[in-house]
């Protein structure tokens, strides 16, 4: 275990993250990069950009609370130290997505009310399932919930958003690229560290599987809300503006309708869950479809 955890040291983190892929960035993107004009001038697209970014802030606030909360229940010092880097990663994500809200014109005084207005209630429930485990100092369930389920979802969501923005909004795409690199590290820790703990505590499997099923349901409900009620695609069509033909898991996102995109994202994430959970000895539980 000590050898694997040495790959997650703060020394490695300093070299790969702040001194590596974040070097030269300002709030996660290149200096001088700005949001594209249409997000500022078109009312519908502007509101959808704010709504989407609010979900990112809500998710990252949950991840910050979870990773910091797990430090005190971690069974060894090396895990505590890895979680210290994850805590700072998540705080950075909170900060950069909050700054995106400011860049989109949200006033600092209106930040909390904007988050309250747009936060998806299913995403809040998804976070609630995880934070309840963290509050009970349940390290095994907390790490599976945080570093496998939550981060696994975030990883695929960010990758899809990155693909959609890469050619049309480089500033936001760069912001996402740094978070994707962070999430990859977090998922890796979860898989490596928790596998041995599940082996040592086989009686925990049932609880953890139930948590995964509950979290997966609220995740799918969040996706359903996000895609089915999103007005961006219709607005771009109304404007006669072609969507970016970005590839995501073999599909052209520029031609899929919102329900097809929802299905593609949901199946991608659930497939990832199944693979990752199997690696740590947890049997994937199929959630109900909202």
């Amino acid at each position: 275990m000590a050898d694997f955890l040495s790959a997650y040291s703060i020394q490695n983190w300093l070299e790969s993250c702040p001194q590596g892929y974040l070097d030269g960035t300002v709030f996660g993107h290149g200096p001088g990069e700005q949001e594209i004009a249409i997000l500022q001038t078109n009312e519908v697209l502007h509101e959808e950009a704010i709504r989407t970014t609010v979900q990112l802030v809500v998710g990252e606030r949950c991840a910050l609370a979870a990773s910091s909360g797990l430090i005190n229940s971690a069974p060894d010092e090396a895990s505590k130290r890895f979680l210290a880097t994850q805590t700072l990663d998540e705080a950075r994500h909170v900060e950069i997505f909050t700054h995106r809200l400011y860049d989109l014109g949200v006033r600092k005084d209106d930040l909390e009310s904007t988050i309250k207005e747009y936060a998806n209630e299913n995403l809040v429930k998804f976070a609630g399932v995880l934070l309840e485990k963290v509050d009970r100092k349940d390290f095994v369930a907390g790490v599976v919930g945080q570093n496998i389920v939550f981060e696994g979802m975030a990883f695929s969501v960010f990758e899809m958003m990155f693909a959609m923005n890469q050619d049309v909004n480089p500033k936001f795409a760069h912001t996402l690229a740094g978070t994707i690199a962070d999430e990859r590290r977090h998922v890796g820790f979860g898989e490596n560290r928790i596998g041995s703990l599940i082996k040592e505590n086989p009686d925990r499997r049932h609880d953890v599987e139930k948590m995964q099923k509950d979290m997966s349901y609220f995740m799918l409900a969040t996706f359903a809300d996000a895609f089915r009620n999103n007005a961006s695609v219709a607005e771009l069509e109304r404007l006669g503006q072609e969507r970016a033909h970005a590839r995501f898991h073999g599909s052209d996102l520029g031609v899929l309708d919102p329900e097809e995109m929802e299905y593609l994202l949901a199946t991608t994430v659930l497939k990832e869950f199944k693979t990752r959970l199997a690696r740590i000895g947890i049997e994937y539980q199929t959630p109900a479809r909202p």
Binding site: L64, S68, G69, K80, A84, T85, T87, L88
Partner: protein, 254 residues
């Protein structure tokens, strides 16, 4: 623009950010490995000196582990986003301190630093750690921030700064980097509590109560550490005074 010219709200937005932390640590951690410059040279050390240094490092680890657990627990009760982000940078700092001290012990030939810390930890520091975590668990923001970012950080600041003057080159380099972080942490505690004391004077009495409760643990830990470092009693008294004065200077108590 000098950050001290900013209005108070913008100043806090700036100094409690990841960006600010990153710029700060980039300046003194860039190019270091396990907290020291690669050209810092090991000097020969007698066996009793090595053993004493290991004991001291073990106790530094107890303090840093307390700070790591304290700072991470404080994130949940921090009253706003900026305080949460600042405390996240502190969590990473404390994790780094723990890591570099563990690594220094490995350099000195300790095979299992975690076990060594358990074996050599000072009882008064362990009691302090327990009490700090109780304050965090009881969601007592002012008391916990005072215990963590003023008392513990001031103690570490005084001891590390002093030890860096006489330590071997590698340990001294590690300590100097840690001291730079501690300065930022004390600044946060001073700023956060200073604003609260100004608007709610009863907090001063609560802080005074915590200080009275924890001071003897700090002074006991200090006494043990200076003894292990082989320092004369006068130095122990001088460090004790330095700690008390640095807390006093913040003007939060009394």
């Amino acid at each position: 623009m000098d950050i001290h010219d900013l209005d108070p709200e913008t100043f806090l937005e700036e100094v409690h950010s990841f960006e600010f932390w990153f710029q700060a640590v980039e300046g003194y951690l860039s190019g270091t490995t396990w907290g020291h410059r690669p050209d810092a040279v090991e000097t020969p050390m007698s066996e009793p000196d090595r053993d004493r240094l290991i004991t001291v490092l073990c106790n530094y680890c107890v303090g840093e582990a307390a700070a790591l657990e304290g700072a991470s627990g404080l994130i949940a009760i921090a009253p706003n986003r900026l305080a949460k982000v600042f405390l996240s940078t502190q969590v990473a700092d404390e994790g780094r301190h723990l890591e570099v001290f563990y690594h220094r012990m490995r350099d000195l030939g300790v095979g299992d630093p975690e076990r060594e810390v358990e074996r050599r930890a000072s009882p008064s520091l362990q009691t302090f750690r327990r009490r700090l975590l109780e304050l965090v668990a009881s969601r007592d923001w002012e008391a916990a921030i005072f215990a963590q970012n003023v008392i513990l950080e001031s103690l570490e600041f005084a001891v590390f700064q002093d030890h860096a003057r006489t330590a071997d080159p590698v340990t001294a380099d590690v300590l100097r980097g840690v001291v730079k972080d501690e300065r930022r942490h004390i600044g946060f505690g001073e700023n956060e509590l200073g604003r609260r004391v100004a608007t709610a004077p009863h907090i001063r009495a609560r802080i005074g109560q915590i200080k009275n409760e924890l001071d003897h643990l700090v002074l006991e830990a200090l006494e043990e550490t200076t003894r292990h470092l082989g320092m004369p009693r006068t130095d122990h008294e001088r460090l004790g005074r330095a700690y008390l004065e640095s807390v006093e200077r913040l003007g939060l108590v009394g």
